[in-house]
């Protein structure tokens, strides 16, 4: 009994016999008994696979098939072949959504990451007092419900009666039509996103900073580098993987951003000036109920994003190798 139990240990030596044609029967029995012996492993991981099959794999395959049909969920499905893909190539609204995504991303990602990095640096400084307070202040937005915050911001951004324009008027700046003009809506979204996500990125960067060995700084200090030089020459290069990760997360976040746009600009307004890819996909699916076309666009975008991400990762890896060698 005890003997048997011992064999289940994680450190169990690999006793699987080398097989050849003659021992096939034996091998088969071993093969089966190993599964039986590790049945708990399969049992414990099975919930994931069950749920994934129903809510992940099936939808993934279903969605792929939907890309080739015309369907609203109720009437009969109509096979249209590659028609959806052809439509997508001439879809001006998709172009607008991609463009808006890009602009919103450019508006908020650089300032947000720079600020997050500076904050992470500052909060890492030994002499700083009240660290917990500063960190809490910046991080608090991350735990609040987006729907509530978007409504608070819509009050703050109100052109006529908003506190922000009031403050601007006090310092003699003309009122800005934050949410009512096509020129400003993206900026308003960007401000909301910076407010909401700086703290999160700050934490990610803090984790990254803490992963840098102290010795590298000491070496740089001995070389006579001042703190700014240390930051540019030591910290920034070593933080590159963290930066890349933050940028990737932010890009995906912009692409599929939903709550902010759904609530703050009422789904992409005014006009289509703040419509991003995520909102457009949602509209296609649940405003127009074009399940086929929506799946086609979602699939294509996801595929492009995946390919680009993998390519960038590979490129970076090879560059880093060169750098090291």
């Amino acid at each position: 009994m005890i003997e048997n139990k011992r064999q289940e240990l994680a450190v169990e030596p690999n006793t699987a016999p080398k097989t050849n044609g003659l021992t096939r029967g034996v091998r088969h029995a071993n093969w089966f008994s190993r599964y039986v012996r590790y049945r708990h492993f399969y049992l414990f991981i099975s919930p994931f696979f069950l749920l994934f099959a129903v809510f992940g794999l099936f939808p993934l395959l279903f969605s792929f098939c939907l890309s080739f049909v015309n369907w609203n969920g109720l009437t009969a499905m109509r096979w249209v072949g590659l028609q959806n893909f052809r439509l997508m190539l001439g879809d001006e609204m998709l172009g607008t959504a991609l463009w808006n995504t890009l602009i919103i991303g450019l508006l908020y990602i650089p300032p947000m990451l720079v600020m997050a990095f500076l904050l992470a640096q500052l909060l890492n400084a030994k002499w700083l007092q009240l660290k917990a307070f500063w960190r809490a202040a910046v991080f608090l937005p991350c735990v609040t419900p987006m729907v509530v915050i978007s409504i608070v911001f819509s009050l703050i951004f109100s052109s006529e009666k908003g506190i922000l324009n009031y403050v601007l008027s006090v310092i003699h700046i003309l009122p800005v039509p934050w949410l009512t003009s096509e020129q400003w809506s993206k900026t308003s979204i960007a401000i909301l996103v910076i407010w909401r996500w700086t703290g999160y990125n700050m934490i990610l960067m803090t984790a990254g900073l803490q992963g840098i060995p102290v010795e590298t700084y000491e070496a740089a200090a001995i070389d006579g580098a001042n703190s700014f030089q240390r930051m540019m020459n030591v910290t920034v290069p070593l933080m590159m993987p963290t930066f890349r990760f933050c940028i990737l997360l932010s890009l995906l976040g912009t692409m599929y951003m939903f709550d902010e746009i759904f609530v703050l600009t009422n789904g992409g307004g005014p006009g289509t000036s703040s419509l991003n890819v995520g909102m457009y996909l949602f509209d296609l699916a649940f405003q127009d109920f074009k399940f086929g076309y929506a799946s086609c666009v979602a699939y294509t975008i996801a595929a492009v994003v995946l390919i680009v991400t993998l390519a960038v990762n590979r490129l970076n890896r090879s560059q880093e190798k060169e750098f090291v060698s």
């Binding site: 015309n70 609203n72 109720l74 009437t75 649940f286 405003q287």
Partner: protein, 411 residues
Amino acid sequence: MAGHVTVWSWNIAAESLNSIRPRFEAHDPKVHVIVDMTGAQMQMRLMLSIVAGVGAPDVSQLQNTDAPYYIATGRLTDLTSVAGKYRAEFPAAVWNSCVLNGHVYAVPWDIGPCAIYYKRSIFRRYGIDPNQIDTWDRYISAGSEILAKSGGRTKMLPMGSNDLSTLFGILLQQSGGQIFDGQGRIAIDSPQSLEALDVLRKMRMAGITSDVPTYSQEWMAGLTDDSVATYPGAAWLSGMIKDSVTAGKDGNADWGVFRLPAIEPGGLRVANVGGSVLVIPAQCRNKPAAWAFIEYALCSREGQLAQYRGSGIFPALLPALHDPSMDVSDPFFDGQMVSNLFTTDITKITPLNKTATWTEANGYLNEALSHWAATGMTKEDIFKPLAQTMSRRLMVDLAPGVSNVSGAAVK
């Protein structure tokens, strides 16, 4: 009959239904009606509930133009047996969007017969007689006169280049054109479309239009200053005008109404824009009670007239529409008998054929018109490529022969 009936509706329409609730409950004391002014994204939530089979109200309001889309889902209650008998009591133009393959799935509520709202003071100042404006050509020359005499300050009408399809739709009804033919094929590429477009072109070329987005702040501002002289629009627009314009002590706001000009002398001087219907989703558990409420609210003269008096909802029900009590002079419009003016010849409108993809098609039409307006309104045929876009996007055929006719007209 007993139980609760939940109704989803919006704005003034919801208030209007609420106002007749006590009368209905006096009529059917065991039915309790709850009108839910349902907040954000009503259409989306209704469709989600219809797809999911859970959570739809017992009765819902829909835009007349959206009705065919919902009917095509097959998840609305077939009302033929109870509503079929009212067919003759509604104008064909609105009844037609409630029917699919001979079955009735919705009941028309209100209609949007159109006319021109004008500011009497401006017309007086420049000596324009509204009674003389019986064609769009005369409308345009009156507009040019106002523009010239006001030194360019007063435009004849607001016409946002992002919303040309509404006015185009009015003109298309007058010219007898269609977007879809009787079989649901694309029929937009027609001489009638060109005729309607020509009126738009002349208006814009004359410089009498003010390019402000419909219902925007600037558009609303035009109601109270003298930047715009007239507002072509449906009967339900009067509610919005009355809300923003303060009438004088006598209730007279110095506004007037004249009938839509015709395209040709002696042509049709009416068109319908907007209007709603009520439907019963198939998942409703208390259909008899839901129907009882709809029947009272929409198919009875009493219910419809009460709504007109209370909220200015223009009844689609013809007996109510032609009821003598509708003929009251409106002090706001200087005592004009407005309702009569709106409804003359209402039954002569050729109904636009509505299909399940109507709203989407209208979107493409609107895009094409905006593009046409933005790129100099050349005379070139915008309808051939538009018909092809619609055909490709909506995946329906072009109506046969139509493009040939169009070609002949161009010659």
